[in-house]
Symmetry: C2
């Protein structure tokens, strides 16, 4: 005993000694009543200080594994482990419909996965090398020294108050009237959208959305058992004729879900005029709008376009779901819902029931980062970078990829429509040549879009873009 213990520099020595002994007890190598070597003896055997062993023993006593009897020595306690005969269930019979659907709709489990060495256009995550980590570190240290203890204890379901106030001002600067409105902090857009559907819809309800649209949103609408009506897209957003005819054909539409800026996956920005037009159509049909503020911050050019939440003025019929995830720190999962005060109050209770609140540490650091102007500084930098990359990618598509249409006008992804070529087949062939992207059909609410695909370029170098697009182009040319 104790001869096979290997002490290393990974964690404190007393902890390694403690864990070694605990392991032995749990494995039955030390039995109840057995005497352990004295702290002096063991310190000599292990060539560590006696204090180290004393600390290790104290921990073991605290955890109830040993008993230190003064003047008599240290003894192993009886261990009541009592492992019982194996009893196994078949969980697959016990999982409900919702869980089964969650797995079925989980594209991470069904789509081709990135492998090391590939050129990947799958992700629309930001380029992490652009993150200004030093600013983030400073924000953390500032906040933690101001109110560290408090931040690590329980917070409030609605969110960290200074962040809420900061975001309310931020929304005002987008032209939104915040009177009688409020904000709920969520774990990113995804939770915000899920909470909204969970609070407002019932199985069998109908929801209206752009077609194609954000795959995560489609998944959530399906998981909530909603009927989805897709409205076709044109150059400046939803096709209004299609919208009106579908509204006339379906009298019970409960909600609309719209991504007006840098729409995912098409990258289309809905024009100001169209925003007003569709707002008034929904108003006429009394259908509230969930506006996804996705990548709104990432505009490269043109004049300011107000979100639909701003167009609605003092009205309370738009639920705005915001997030900086797609451009800034997706890893810390912070988003928000801006909506009618009373609705936010109800959703606050739903949020509390589900996970108490979003990490207060993250919210506070995020707040500090915004307040210090680091976000604006970062935005300025990435806008320039992404704009250049975007332009370059468009050139490369024109040069290499024969297609019917390149959608969109910015963002960090491009959406391509081919001339009657199945994009999954293209993907399969590209994959064998170490290039991967996202087949477009997963963004469609019907069976269409089989000739489309999305190219995320945020994390790629220009060289990768050129090389990858060349390969995609070659594959397509081979197929025509």
């Amino acid at each position: 005993m104790f001869l096979d213990i290997k002490l290393n520099g990974d964690s404190p020595i007393y902890l390694q000694v403690k864990n070694y002994i605990k392991d032995m007890i749990l494995k039955g190598m030390f039995q109840g009543g057995e005497k352990l070597p004295s702290t002096r003896e063991l310190s000599i055997v292990l060539k560590v200080s006696r204090n180290t062993i004393i600390t290790a023993y104290e921990f073991l006593e605290d955890e109830g594994f040993i008993c230190i009897k003064k003047g008599k020595g240290t003894f192993i306690n009886e261990l009541h482990l009592n492992k019982q005969e194996k009893w196994c269930l078949d969980w697959s019979n016990r999982i409900n419909k919702y869980a089964v659907s969650s797995e079925k709709l989980d594209i991470m489990k069904h789509e081709l996965q990135y492998k090391k060495g590939m050129i990947s256009f799958k992700s629309i995550a930001p380029d992490e090398s652009l993150f200004n980590i030093e600013d983030f570190k400073r924000a953390f240290l500032n906040r933690i020294s101001l109110e560290g203890n408090r931040l690590l204890n329980y917070g409030y379901a609605k969110g960290y108050k200074p962040l809420i106030d900061e975001l309310l001002v931020y929304m005002t600067k987008k032209g939104v009237d915040i009177k009688d409105k409020d904000i709920l902090i969520t774990n990113g857009f995804t939770e915000g959208f899920d909470l909204t559907l969970a609070s407002l819809t019932n199985e069998g309800d109908t929801i209206l959305t752009e077609n194609p649209t954000h795959n995560t949103a489609i998944k959530l609408m399906k998981l909530h058992g909603l009927n989805i009506i897709g409205i076709s897209m044109e150059e400046d957003g939803m096709n209004v004729n299609d919208l009106i005819s579908k509204l006339n054909a379906n009298c019970n539409v409960k909600l609309a879900y719209i991504i007006p800026s840098y729409h995912n996956p098409t990258g289309i920005v809905m024009s100001s005029q169209k925003r007003v037009e569709i707002y008034n159509i929904f108003k006429k049909y009394k259908i509230p709008i969930i506006e996804d503020g996705f990548n709104e911050e990432l505009r490269y050019s043109g004049s300011h376009i107000a979100p639909i939440a701003a167009i609605s003025g003092e009205g309370n019929s738009v639920i705005y779901a915001g997030s900086f995830s797609k451009i800034l720190f997706p890893g810390i999962r912070i988003g928000w819902i801006l909506a009618d005060k009373k609705l936010i109050s109800v959703m606050e209770s739903v949020k509390r029931s589900r996970n108490i609140h979003t990490s207060f540490l993250d919210q506070a650091v995020f707040y500090e980062y915004l307040k210090e102007g680091s976000f604006e500084k970062y935005l300025k930098k990435v806008r320039r970078e992404y704009k250049e990359k975007y332009k370059f990618a468009v050139q490369c598509i024109k040069k290499y990829i024969p297609c019917e249409c390149i959608y969109g006008e910015g963002g960090i992804h491009l959406f391509i429509k081919l001339k009657e070529i199945n994009s999954r087949e293209v993907l399969r062939k590209c994959y064998s040549r170490n290039v991967i992207f996202t087949a477009g059909d997963i963004f469609y609410v019907d069976e269409s879009g089989k000739d489309t695909f999305r190219l995320g370029i945020g994390r790629n170098t220009k060289e990768q873009i050129e090389e990858g697009f060349k390969i995609i182009g070659e594959v397509i040319k081979d197929m025509t």
Copy 2:
């Protein structure tokens, strides 16, 4: 214009200038086409450097509010805000049953709230002054310098791999056999429990639990539309006769939910023998167990008691929900589910659909903190502190509060049963004397427990405990 701008030290000057101009544009004080002062002129007026103004103008151009024409000057863009006529909905008609129940069951909205200056025994949160912030800061700085950029980008639904591995070892040290099991990281216990019910139960299913039990768990069971069967408690945990008779009377129990250690609210620790006994009963009736590891880490004395997950050995019928929240950093919301590998894989998809993943930054810092031994060091410190406080509180109850029974044997809360006195009435009277605690009825799944209450002592000084308990005792004496 520009005369009313007040520059302060709160955020960078260029940002304040930018926001001032943006505000003016949004308020219609600057009209489209209007010319802004030159950067030189404005820098003189505001007494700031010209570069500050240049930066502010660049930001405004980036955001599309102004247009800088070389040699001509800087002009306000046309603003397409187009606020429409007010359209208001009555959201209360549009909220579904689930959201209504969430609000109805939200005790934060219906119970008496703490007011400044009160002595509060409401909370069972830890004492934040015991947090070792310096260790936490070091953990953050270490992790962020090792892999900061990566941590802030998207992670994985299942969790941060090093943390999962660390927790698997941690569970092994509790005696759990981890073969064919896996871990899902959740936003605290609450999300873990919600995800479990969401994946395994359907409306109308029956679940069995200790009575009383954790209020958040009751809320979630009700929100999932479950029938709840409560089993009465005795000194060493569930009453076995009550359990068997209720199992015989209800043939379709789907799941059991149990808090074997420092049970909330009673503080009772289920004995080793009873753990084995009830495990075998559930096995006989083929009912899987959700084991809430609540405050298991906070034992003060006695020998090690293995969790039920350890008793089940190689079996896969126990779902263990762990969290350090109640003792360590509740604010960062990290918990975990340890269960059968296949079940975890399904729940991973459910988790992904709901919020992509738990903050990777928090997980990584938490991992570092565990690995460095800071958690064990912290535990050692708080165990001593809380043990002393607990003993003192028990003495004070005996001295001041006439009651039928003090439940439990540790933790940072006490549960009291009065002699046929309504605890809500006691609470009301104490409240007017600036003392607040939690009425016990919210922990019961039936109409009982009206003569009970919970006293959380984690955050109180000894002086507050003595003074507060004295007042509670006086109120009770007045009522008898």
